[in-house]
Symmetry: C2
């Protein structure tokens, strides 16, 4: 572990890596003694440009950036999904290094969940709708592992993508409620030129499915524009559902209009609102969300 | 707030008091800049010699001691119990001050639970038996408020009485599981000369009930001695139950032999074990526990 001497050049290709919480804390403590600020970018690996945008934001804001790489088993409600989740630490480490990440925290599962582990963090209401309703235990798994990670690293700022907007809001609520002394920063979704939100799950799509996938965002954008123009939510969202299924998605888990702040279900965009959707392309579940301008 | 210049004489009678998390953090941060260690003694007030033993332990271990006083509504499953809970901040502050406490944190409820609060911390298994089974929501309330408090103060050590042994073990588990960088210290139960465990609820007993109350500890001690001597658990615990009811307790919520480490139910003291009991004297619910020597 050479975390005591982090390189800051953005062109290096190796990256100081720690696998224990003790090693992580020692590295962060050394930075703290120098008075340096610390940003954290939690990931499950399978990096894409969305993750790298988080690293860039952290590097712009903070003197040092820690990335974590941990495929958290407790947030997978489906063992098949956990098994299929793409993993390539060497490739991920090279991408983190190229972006100038200062330290990679890549713990084994038993470092995160030792024998006897028994604690769950749950955010009610925010965590009970959308993916919380369709993926039992998922949001508890996320809230718990992020609470741990925030306590392990104790960063000044932690960065999360708006693509997982419900997760972002749950983490904000959890960090506030548990008095974690950290800023939770949301970073705008990065998209392919055809509008598809970047996601590690996109790697699992067949070429045919990849062609169909942008229909999800297209439908959300069209409905968001209609709602912003004053259309009623019912017909606009029905049209979006039909368009998604017609494009070739197998099923829709949800397509909802909800308030940004508390994810309350809305009849119209009378306060800051987003359309949220989760839909299945074969065995791959994609999610996306789109802000809706209020008024009309 | 004069927390920056804490008095250390044990005979002072006023005490620096903060009511906001911001004020608390500023006071603790000032100590940290001086390199001072910090102990925390969480209380719900209604102080007795058991609490003061926690303060003394903290003062022996740590350079500065914070006491908190907050009657946490979320851990009361019964609104009547919350309403009846004894409250006298001025008297408590004088007792804390006399023991040399450096800072009192006594927040109002909306500082701890602002509008929109939605997070619960739950310790499974450990939290599902004993008082967790008989007081729904109680242990979640405790685990959540203590997680918050540990994050608010960030002490080196936090002190809890062994009288609430299940609570102590839940807090240990929670602090370990959530990677809170703190030592949880258990302090032996303080008892009246007749064996009654000190408890804020003792203040609610009538003189007649106060006469009866030591029967709880007497029965646990007798059963623990029998078990240590090799007696079977069944008859020894039946005798304890009968003695408690015969003495004048109205009902027994539980009387269990359990492992200290994980509170698993035991048939005999084949590993470090305790007898745990909760019983009702009129409308007052008393709890106690007694270690059982293994072997026999």
């Amino acid at each position: 572990m050479s975390a005591q001497t982090p390189a800051s050049e953005s062109d290096r290709t190796t990256l100081a890596t720690v696998r224990s919480i003790v090693g992580l804390r020692a590295a962060v403590a050394a930075w703290r003694r120098e008075g340096l600020s610390v940003g954290l970018v939690p990931t499950m690996g399978a990096l894409h440009a969305g993750h790298l945008a988080l690293i860039r934001r952290s590097r712009a804001d903070c003197a040092r950036t820690v990335a974590s790489l941990f495929v958290n088993p407790t947030q997978f409600n489906d063992p098949k999904d956990l098994k299929a989740y793409p993993r390539d630490e060497a490739a991920d480490a090279a991408l983190f290094a190229a972006e100038g990440t200062d330290l990679l925290f890549a713990p084994p599962a038993d470092e995160v969940y030792p024998a006897g582990f028994a604690t769950q963090v749950r955010v009610t209401s925010l965590g009970d709708c959308l993916c919380g309703a369709t993926r039992p235990g998922h949001m508890e798994g996320v809230a718990t592992v992020v609470a741990k990670l925030l306590n392990q690293v104790r960063p000044d700022v932690a960065y999360f993508g708006e693509k997982d907007f419900q997760q972002l809001q749950i983490i904000r609520r959890m960090a506030t409620d548990l008095d974690l002394d950290v800023t939770i920063a949301g970073v705008a979704t990065v998209r392919e030129p055809d509008g598809l939100a970047l996601s590690s799950r996109n790697f699992l799509l067949t070429p045919e499915q990849r062609e169909i996938a942008p229909a999800l965002h297209r439908a959300l954008s069209a409905a968001a524009a209609e709602l912003a123009g004053g259309a009623s939510a019912g017909p606009a969202m029905e049209a979006a559902r039909a368009a998604i299924l017609e494009a070739g998605f197998r099923a829709i888990d949800y397509l909802d209009l909800r308030a940004e702040a508390d994810l309350a279900a809305l009849e119209g965009p009378d306060r800051p609102a987003r359309l949220f959707a989760a839909a299945w392309l074969g065995d791959v579940r994609l999610i996306d969300n789109e802000p809706v301008e209020s008024g009309g």
